[in-house]
Symmetry: C2
Subunit: 205 residues, 2 copies
DNA sequence: TGTACATCAGTGAACGCGCGTTCACTGATGTAC
DNA sequence: TGTACATCAGTGAACGCGCGTTCACTGATGTAC
């Protein structure tokens, strides 16, 4: 019997380690969101199946489905923000390089995790919308742009506007990439990001 | 009994006019997509309720749910393409004005019909993706940009690239608008479109 | 050291629901003879 | 002009399904006395 294991009780986590299952659930849900390409079709029962547990077990860690989805969105927003921040770290000396690295990191996350990207832009967590959750990233970009300007790279508009410009444009490009299965050339998305970035400076580069 | 009417047969369309119901179904579904803000939650039974008919009646006009959704996407893509085309019509003398009018028309459609916009960008009609369906619009924009260039407004890049740039950027802005209930100032989206358009020219305007 | 008990991690079975789809039907209207 | 029949627009009732959620439970492990 190949699926005998499935009918057998999962060996419980040691006492006090119940929170481990919470992470396992989030991982399983993440996997599912990746496979499904979004929130649509994501079900409590499906997550339970993917995690190898009983559906009821999920309710020990999430009050309901909405809370699970919200937890998932938050989890992945944090991952994305970290990736962008980290990308600029060793490049304080060359702010333009840092800017490109950060934007490329953003693109890579979005391209490698279509389902999650869609989820964190779609999900309407009651209190804070996606804009709220993406604001930290915008601020990082704005700050880097500011350092570019200070280093003598003249902008065609105020720093904040430029940050929105670049960010929003890249978002559009990524969204189009996701919705068109024909256009699967990652490098073209990165090229677009570079090209758009060049536009906000008076001299491209 | 208030809902007596609901339990009564709809008076059938005259013979040969059965196709009318197809349109009524599409209209009802459109209304629903607007209310729901997207494809999610759109059901055959819900459409039937909204149209005041029996669920089974839908199958006379659409083979299954997928075909209904595809018909809906096509219907609205056509509406959008027409709106953009029309916006530039009386403005052959001033291509820059035509460009702005077209892009504003695009924004207005997207802002006024969030559900439809989401739908036509999300829906994966088996054969042609959204890119295919949006291509005509891109071509209209490219053509107008070409006329701008011919009229002496110098572009910072080839016409096709500029069209993609503007189009994709606006799409990003609109998408962000939709996903952030805080940011409901339509004029800012239009301003963004203008600002982005200015960027692809050597001198803004 | 023993034992009763509380706590913890996790489960099986059931609930009511709305869904997509199918099928044999109804009743009105046109057509052939 | 009458009548049998085909066609058309649309329907009611039922199907099987997977869903979210609840509830009383199981069995292991720690704690109090």
């Amino acid at each position: 019997m190949t699926d005998e294991a499935a009918t057998v009780y999962r060996t419980p986590n040691p006492r006090g380690q119940g929170a481990r299952l919470r992470l396992e659930i989030l991982h399983a849900a993440s996997r599912l969101v990746s496979e499904l390409g979004g929130e649509q079709g994501l079900t409590i029962r499906g997550v339970a199946r993917a995690a190898g547990i009983a559906p009821a077990s999920i309710y020990q860690h999430f009050a309901d489905k909405a809370e699970l989805v919200e937890g998932l969105a938050r989890y992945n927003t944090d991952r994305l923000a970290l990736a962008v921040r980290d990308a600029g770290l060793g490049l304080a000396a060359d702010p333009v390089a840092a800017l490109h690295a950060q934007l490329h990191a953003y693109c890579h996350f979005a391209l490698d995790n279509p389902g999650h990207y869609r989820l964190l832009l779609t999900s309407r967590s009651d209190a804070r919308g996606p804009r709220q959750s993406l604001t930290p990233i915008l601020e990082v970009v704005a700050e880097t742009l500011g350092r570019c300007e200070a280093a003598g790279h003249q902008l065609r508009m105020p720093v904040e506007r430029a940050a929105v410009m670049v960010f929003v444009g890249i978002h559009g490009r990524v969204a189009l990439f996701h919705s068109d299965s024909t256009d699967q050339d990652t490098t073209r998305v990165l090229a677009f990001a570079d090209e758009l970035t060049a536009l906000v400076f008076t001299v491209g580069g």
